[in-house]
Amino acid sequence: MLILGFVLAKGISSLNIDLLTKMPVPEGEAGGGVANSIVGSLMTIGIAALIGIPVGIGAGAFVSEYAGNRLGDVIRFTADVLTGVPSIVVGIFVYGLVVLRMGNFSALAAGIALAIIMLPIVARSSEEMLRLVPHSQREAALALGITRWRTILNVVMPAAQRGLLTGALLAVARAAGETAPLLFTALGNRFMSLSVTGEPVDALPLRIYRYATGPYSEQHGQAWAASLVLVVTVFVISLSARLLLRRR
């Protein structure tokens, strides 16, 4: 609570419309904003969601609908352990896997790193949610002669819709705040970048880290303000996820 208070107090004093719309200025000058970081964050999280959510839900569906007990336990356990892997290790992994092969830092690499962080979270939560759908519904659909994949796609998944969305949102909230893997995948960029594969991009958490550890007091103020933006975003996402689950 104390921490939130500090972020709020320090953040509001240096929060203004310039922060959201303007580009960074040279060190030591006042003014400027973090528009490039916000755009970069949206891009990387978008890519991560596009990869991580479908694969995660698919993996969850496989465990709950197809896999036998033993295989299901193995995948579930692996996913649980993957959730506990430090995000910085994931960053190094993607650096070797994507950045070195492609030859440069990019939004794509950062998106893949965040997707890997999201995958086990989405897989575990969607599996739990699909498991909550009563068996009678599956059996009713199968009894009508509907094929198995149609049953899963058109009966089971819609029934668990809200739960699936909650899991996805929580994973997005987690990915939005991640910084460590971005150090080796997105790298950071002082300028606006809209390229997916071509050049390094910036991200909000990355900019906060750079500004906070730098020596300039103007940048410290901006770091607080950017933190406020980040915290509010993350809280709104996870809050809506919780509300979604509660409103049943």
Binding site: A61, Y66, G68, I75, V85, F93, W149
Partner: protein, 328 residues
């Protein structure tokens, strides 16, 4: 389709799992193969993760061998790398965090599951969950500009000249260092441990409490005599999960620990952890062996956290078979 105990298919249907392409119709075959592919992607990912890290650190593994873990020199200029200071820093900062966080979070969990009136439970749980969702870089920012000056003024300067004969409290009052790192880690793992501990306690059957009450036990006797012993392994699991998180935590620690490469007993001196070393030096690494050594550091960190996590999961799984939406 016949379904087994946990809804998994058996008999005919299980055969379709093992050979999804031999399903009754084309749609089912394709869907089965896609689902299996996505399901196995989790396993493939885990394998690939280990392979890639070993591959990228191979140069350093062959160059230093097992000495990498025991050597205390971390000197990029002399091309000498030893992981001991980083491993020591990782363990000590996490242990400080556990010492500070465990009593508070177990207490909070007892309060939430046993004592708190229902109307207080929801807002309180909500607060804990929000704290868990706080991005670590924001916590690091707070640590650097609020916690570190506080540690410098009220802990390190206050003990200056009084407690310095104890090695633990010796050293210059920088503010940044092992103590600040341990403090920030304890704040980070507090919500995790208390959330899981609460879930584990809520999983204790009410009949256990009622039996104790029926014997004339007081509230406290119920908690210490029935609830805690019943879920002991789950609580240990919750603590170890918190430990796993503390070991791997990067950003907040990097920002307050201050980059020191000596093993000292002092809590006030700057230190480094495996993750903070990788985070702060990876982009400065100028030659292949340097990068390789940093990747090996990440590999060691991975090994430690995976072992810790496996132990914790097994303990938590035993008590609450499906931990559900427990967040990391």
């Amino acid at each position: 389709m016949r379904l087994g105990r946990r809804g998994a298919p058996v008999g005919e249907a299980a055969l379709a799992v093992r050979r999804p392409w031999r399903a009754a119709n084309a749609g089912d075959a394709i869907a089965g193969v896609i689902a299996a592919g996505l399901g196995f992607s989790v396993l493939v990912l885990a394998g690939l993760l280990v392979y890639e890290l070993v591959d990228k650190s191979w140069q350093s593994i062959t160059e230093f061998g097992l000495g990498f873990i025991t050597s205390t020199t971390w000197d990029p200029v002399a091309r000498e790398f030893g992981a001991a200071p980083a491993i020591y820093g990782t363990l000590v900062s996490s242990i400080i965090a556990l010492i500070l966080a465990v009593p508070v979070s177990i207490g909070a969990a007892i309060f939430l599951s046993e004592i708190a009136p229902p109307w207080l439970r929801n807002p309180f749980s909500f607060l804990v969950e929000m704290l868990a969702a706080l991005p670590s870089v924001v916590l690091g920012l707070w640590g650097l500009y609020v916690l570190v000056p506080w540690v410098r003024e009220f802990v390190e300067k206050a003990t200056l000249g009084r407690l310095n004969f104890i090695p633990l409290f010796s050293g210059p009052p920088f503010g940044v260092g092992m103590l600040a790192a341990g403090l920030i880690l304890s704040i980070m793992i507090l919500p995790i441990i208390s959330a899981i501990a609460r879930d584990v306690m809520l999983a204790v059957p009410t009949s256990q409490r009622e039996a104790m009450l029926a014997l004339g036990a007081t509230k406290w006797e119920v908690i210490s005599g029935a609830v805690l012993p019943y879920c002991r392994s789950g609580l240990v699991g919750a603590v170890i999960l918190g430990l796993g998180r503390a070991l791997g935590e990067t950003m907040a620690v990097t920002m307050v620990i201050g980059r020191g490469y000596n093993i000292t007993a002092s809590l006030f001196r700057p230190a480094s952890t495996a993750s903070s070393t990788v985070a702060s030096e990876f982009n400065e690494a100028t030659y292949q062996l340097y990068i390789s050594a940093l990747v090996e550091l990440a590999l060691i960190l991975l090994a430690i956290t995976v072992v810790v996590n496996i132990v914790a999961r097994l303990l938590v799984w035993r008590i609450a078979k499906s931990p559900g939406l427990i967040r990391e």
